[in-house]
Amino acid sequence: MASGSPPSAQPASSGHPYPPGEYPIVIVGSGPGALQASYFLSRLGIEHAVISGDAGAGGMFRKWPFFQRLLSWTKPYAPPERDSREFERWDWNSLLALEPEWRGIATEFMDGTSDFPSRPLMQANLEAFAERTGVAVRYGCRWESTRHEDTPDGERFVLVTSDGEYRCRFPIFAVGVAEPYSPATPGIELAVHYADTRDAETYAGKRLFIIGKQNSGFELATGLLQWASRISLSSPSPAKTSIETRSLVGVRARYVQPFEDSILGGGVDILSASTKGIRKLESGAFEVQLERSDNAMPMTVEADEVIAATGFVCPLRDLPALGVATFGQSKLPAQTEFWESASVPGIYFAGTITQGSAGLKKHGIPSNSGALHGYRYNARVLVRELARRHFGIQPERPTIDVGDLRDHLLAEATRAPELWHQKAYLASVVSLDPDEGVRDEGILPLTHFLDAGGGDAVAMTIESDGASIYPVVYVRRGGRQEEHALDPDPLHDFEGLPYRRALGQILDRLTAGAASTAA
């Protein structure tokens, strides 16, 4: 990222910016993914518009989570300085900024009651970022449909909105995974979706049946433990916690209490069963018909309320009809490693929707692209690639003295927030060219490094196999690739002598003829 580039002249965040018309890029959305992409585009001076049907910044954080406290932490007193890159490892909730004064904004909104900020404070954090950094959004402008046109000036996407038509070469959809989804189970209309959950006290004394054992189901169960008379949660597969999966997949530790209540017989039932139907009884209660996963036997549960915590899908409107391939229960758009539609070139994505670019998922562990602390980096890499590919803006590639290469890579492994938050997904890349010398290529998708080919280079990642966290060095030499996993360290410090020695030996084969990098 060319950090010295001046911001483009964008309309102020107040008023009603970006009238319908033609822009090189149009971002749809005003959640953190959209704000982050707009911020970096502005800093590179790339003209664009940002439109959103919402009334203000924040996206899903304007409404959810229902019980008003997030799953993502910010630790204001972590060791690094708050305006440093390293601090981002301890701050999952701030958007990224080049200016030191706009870094770590979330810390200002932590009230000391928890390292997980409340939803209103998260919203305030995002609104503050937009205001301070000058990210402007045309609010109340609802994207309604899309078409593709061939014009004398080239291909254009036309976004039809409630305010008129926007033409652009590259739309970036940052619309989240925010449309409530309910399965086609008979009687599902008798259930209330998570998105429509009422105030907690209205469930006092009720028997609740929650369909779904993801975080949203356990969030409701946790919040309603003190109100409901009995809570049953059910889905076909056993629930796993994030501690078991060692990733954000699984029920987060904050929501473990219902597990304990279940194990101790405390009025919570955690069932592994498919919901086959729901019917209303004469008493006014509901009968939930289940099929047990262990023996396929039927069973029923009577409940006063049924809540479908069955997730959300991407509100892609007519993009699938335009050819955008989707997959999975969330109907995520299939994407390239640079978050471009895998089936319709020119359409890009930002925000939580970028989990549709799955990466390697080594050892079955996904990236954190579904969360702010993952996709904020995706947005920066996306903008850098858009700038390079379509706007002739080449990224900075600082030179590195060959004698410093080993220490540079080990420092990245130990401290780079991009590698820690996007394990086995984003890599810190260095190229070695006989003419150009050693160049820092910055943070790139690991799959791009592995599949795009090119000259000799090294990529450093942080990875997890579900048991340990450790650095992995990928070396490309003479067109061939090697993978070298380094040992884990109990304190995650990879800058000590054993690592210097191990990496030095790997690099020496690559830098033969140059100064030795071994200890």
């Binding site: 997959f327 999975g328 229960q329 895998a342 599949d451 990875e463 690739q481 993978e483």
Partner: protein
């Protein structure tokens, strides 16, 4: 493609899942994840650790080792199991030759899944035996 029911429909009748009743197919659909690969995408990479077990729902892929095409895989075929079972990196690339949808199970979850579904394990063993026999035949024919 998306819901568990749709995935269960898609895998019903595939050789590896042929012994499973509907509730078990739903269980498979909820344990695996769906993945999409555009044409030319590398799904597995020769020599790279951490792979998973894949079953093709739709599309085609080539098996390529050291630049040499060895086989073509299509709907109902599966791959990645050798690498997962042996705990070794794949010995070949799997490259989508047209857009491909799969269901995927991460490597660490494969053992538990197979133990829970012995009929799937049997069908996998049967397919492996068939591949071994065919490889032997090719070897014999080339001598």
């Amino acid at each position: 493609m998306a819901t568990r029911d749709e995935i269960a429909d898609a895998i019903a009748g595939m050789a590896i899942f042929v012994d499973l009743a509907r509730p078990q197919l739903i269980g498979v659909a909820s344990r695996f994840e769906e993945a999409f690969f555009p044409k030319d995408a590398r799904v597995l990479r020769q020599g790279l650790t951490g792979s998973g077990f894949y079953v093709i729902l739709d599309g085609e892929a080539d098996v390529v080792a050291d630049g040499q095409k060895l086989a073509t895989l299509a709907r109902g075929d599966f791959f990645g199991e050798v690498s997962v079972l042996l705990g070794e990196p794949p010995t070949a690339d799997i490259v989508a030759t047209r857009p491909m949808r799969c269901i995927v199970l991460g490597g660490p979850d494969v053992e538990g899944f197979l133990v829970d579904h012995p009929r799937v394990m049997f069908r996998m063993l049967q397919a492996s035996a068939r591949r071994l026999r065919n490889a032997n035949r090719r070897l014999t024919a080339s001598q």
